[in-house]
Symmetry: C2
Subunit: 409 residues, 2 copies
């Protein structure tokens, strides 16, 4: 059950001039559902991407890196759900390359201008024939307003499609930012989440876009965790078609850079939060805010130590204010010379820990009241400095075990 | 359901001359169960201990460190289950000190010769009055052959008491090693497990014992994980009473050092494995062996990346050979420059991965056959060097969630 997350309303999801999306039912894992998505990108667009840091990067991730290194502008993305094409060796690489070649032929570009993406079960051969056979249908359904359909075509254990739009008016042009993503297990993105695609009609210089995507990934997808497991297929792509404006944004000093980055960051954060809201088996959406850290890395480490702890997550599932587990998790974050007598913890509006121990004002029924809510914020002050970080996660329920024990059946 | 683990047979658990154990029902968490244990240690014994690396070390751990630093020989241990006395500030320290003082008076030693230990819920005040009131009963029940009763008095979510003995004949004396431990959640010991007490009647020089306990902890309790959460109360104590022999073992070059260390290590490993066999909700006992690593730390990191992954653990619970998750976990171990084409993986006697991809000989039904067994060994060859490490863990079931969601009810 996703936490306060509804399917996107197609009327609220804006098209991005220069981007079209098509889809098909290829029967990759099982028949009868949309599981392939094609994205075409108009000439003159800038495209940037970040990928998983997992050593076993999947074949499509390896091909993406190779194609981006080639330096030709990206013109198409091809994505399948139901099979990760990972642990598949040279045959997997060949399958990804053949898919790119077929897409290139269909869309009128060269093979290295196509980026392939896969999500699903690891270690199974990609059913290449079925994937190739679905491409004409993908091409025939290409349309600018197919973002919601595309979002549902890339779902695996997601229960709700994830799409968000925002707009910002700059110099008389309306700039649109629209993005989609899928989660929702094997999920502690390290550079980017499982699969996320965000596009804007702004015009942004390619190298600037590459720098921008890293910053945005770090404050959105890299700040969400469901189970602490980093996928082999994480990919986050940012497209700037430039269709809306002739003003090229070419530096961080550009008067509109900040506004645009904020708009893209907003969509990325909504997508990242949506992934935690729909985390496998989630019944609670949990925001962990760590303040007064020595530096940002330390703040993230403490926040993730809390967000990853199975004991913290099961207590939240039970709505049980067994909050000593928060101390345990902070104590395990590996912060050198942490003076625990400076640590303060709040749960919603309730102070739980003062000076490293149970606050005198704390009453169990106040903790229990907050724990019963569907959205809960844990606040931690470390008393060491002025850095902070926010991480989003969900609780840990029977259904997480059920979903992952039965994933392939 | 513990995996191939029966309650200890009292006839197989040997007494250790110089150590007596008593117990009582103090009603720390709830009435009607043994929850306090007292251990007395004869004069002239050597005692060494290692403790949790969690920054929020519990009050009893802090008092243990202080008492050991004082340098007087340890003469008694006092242990309670049901309350961890952690996050309890100065009041918690005072409660631990008062307990030590009462034990000292009862057993005829000074307060700093007593080490206190607690296990149970964090952040609740220790019910000191009930604990103190139980001490006379603990004292009245002191007996050398009470190891099994003591093992059950320190249980929390354990379903089976854990006690093992071994003997080794040296120079005509029979040396005995007997140990007890409790687990079984918040369990990734870092220096030592939740609570483990091992005693021998051998005579060992105290500083040598201190060095020995670190090596033994590293290859036993520090190699077991249930949920990756390191407790605030981990403690492992090793007692050498010297009652059996006048030969002082005073260096690693001593002709019998190796034999004795092996015997103590054997008991420690059996206890560590017993904790994984009885891990919260466990239905499978899993041994992860990593070989051909660049160094031992790297081997441990890869083994723990596998042993901690919720996705790997739920697949084992389901007996589903979804073995791509092993690749994912290895890829997340943070090994710099891992050449994945050198990685080989076996599951029991079945080769799953060869040269970093699905082995040509691998058939799903072979993987499924091994997955159905209750004890499974995962073998990983990294192809980087000649270091190796073994880690023990269990699977991740509905019951882990149930136990931890309902822990305080």
């Amino acid at each position: 059950m996703p936490v306060n997350l509804r399917p996107p309303d197609p009327r609220e999801i804006r098209s991005v001039d220069g981007v079209e999306l098509g889809f098909a039912m290829a029967g990759i894992k099982r028949p009868g559902r949309r599981d392939v998505m094609l994205v075409t990108i108009r000439e003159g667009s800038s495209v940037a991407a970040v990928f998983t840091q997992n050593s076993f990067a999947a074949a499509p991730v390896q091909v993406c890196r190779r194609h981006l290194a080639g330096g030709l502008p990206v013109r198409a993305l091809i994505i399948n759900a139901g099979n990760a094409n990972c642990g598949t060796g040279q045959a997997g690489i060949d399958a990804a390359l053949k898919t790119c070649a077929a897409v290139a032929e269909l869309t009128g570009c060269v093979s290295s201008q196509v980026l392939p993406f896969s999500t699903g079960v690891i270690l199974e051969p990609l059913p290449l024939d079925r994937l190739l056979a679905s491409l004409p249908e993908c091409s025939a359904t290409l349309k600018a307003d197919h973002w919601c359909e595309a979002a549902s075509a890339i779902m695996t254990t997601d229960t709700v499609a994830k799409a968000f739009s925002t707009t910002v008016a700059i110099d008389g042009s309306e700039l649109v930012v629209t993005g989609i993503a899928k989660g929702v297990g094997m999920l502690q993105p390290n550079m980017a989440t499982m699969l996320a695609f965000v596009a804007t009609n702004a015009r942004i210089e390619p190298q600037l876009l590459s720098r921008m995507i890293k910053g945005i990934a770090n404050s959105s997808f890299n700040r969400v965790t469901v189970d602490g497991d980093t996928s082999t297929n994480d990919s986050f792509v940012l497209i700037a078609t430039g269709a809306a404006s002739s003003h090229l944004i070419d530096s961080e000093q550009h008067p509109h850079y900040g506004e645009l980055e904020a708009a893209i960051g907003r969509v990325a954060k909504l997508l990242a939060q949506a992934i935690a809201r729909d985390g496998e088996g989630a019944t609670k959406f949990i925001t962990v805010v760590v303040r007064q850290a020595g530096d940002e890395a330390e703040a993230v480490r403490v926040a993730k130590a809390i967000a990853h702890s199975p004991l913290v997550k099961t207590a939240f599932f039970a709505s049980d204010p067994n909050l000593g587990r928060l101390l345990m998790a902070i104590g395990n974050a590996g912060i050198a010379n942490l003076d625990v007598t400076h640590v303060e913890i709040t749960l919603g509006d309730v102070q739980v820990i003062a000076k490293g121990e149970r606050a005198k004002s704390y009453r169990e029924e106040d903790g229990a009241r907050v724990m019963r809510e569907a959205e809960i914020t844990i606040g931690v002050d470390l008393g060491r400095g002025d850095a902070s970080a926010t991480v989003w996660t969900c609780d840990f329920s029977y259904d997480y075990v059920k979903i992952n024990a039965e994933y392939r059946t």
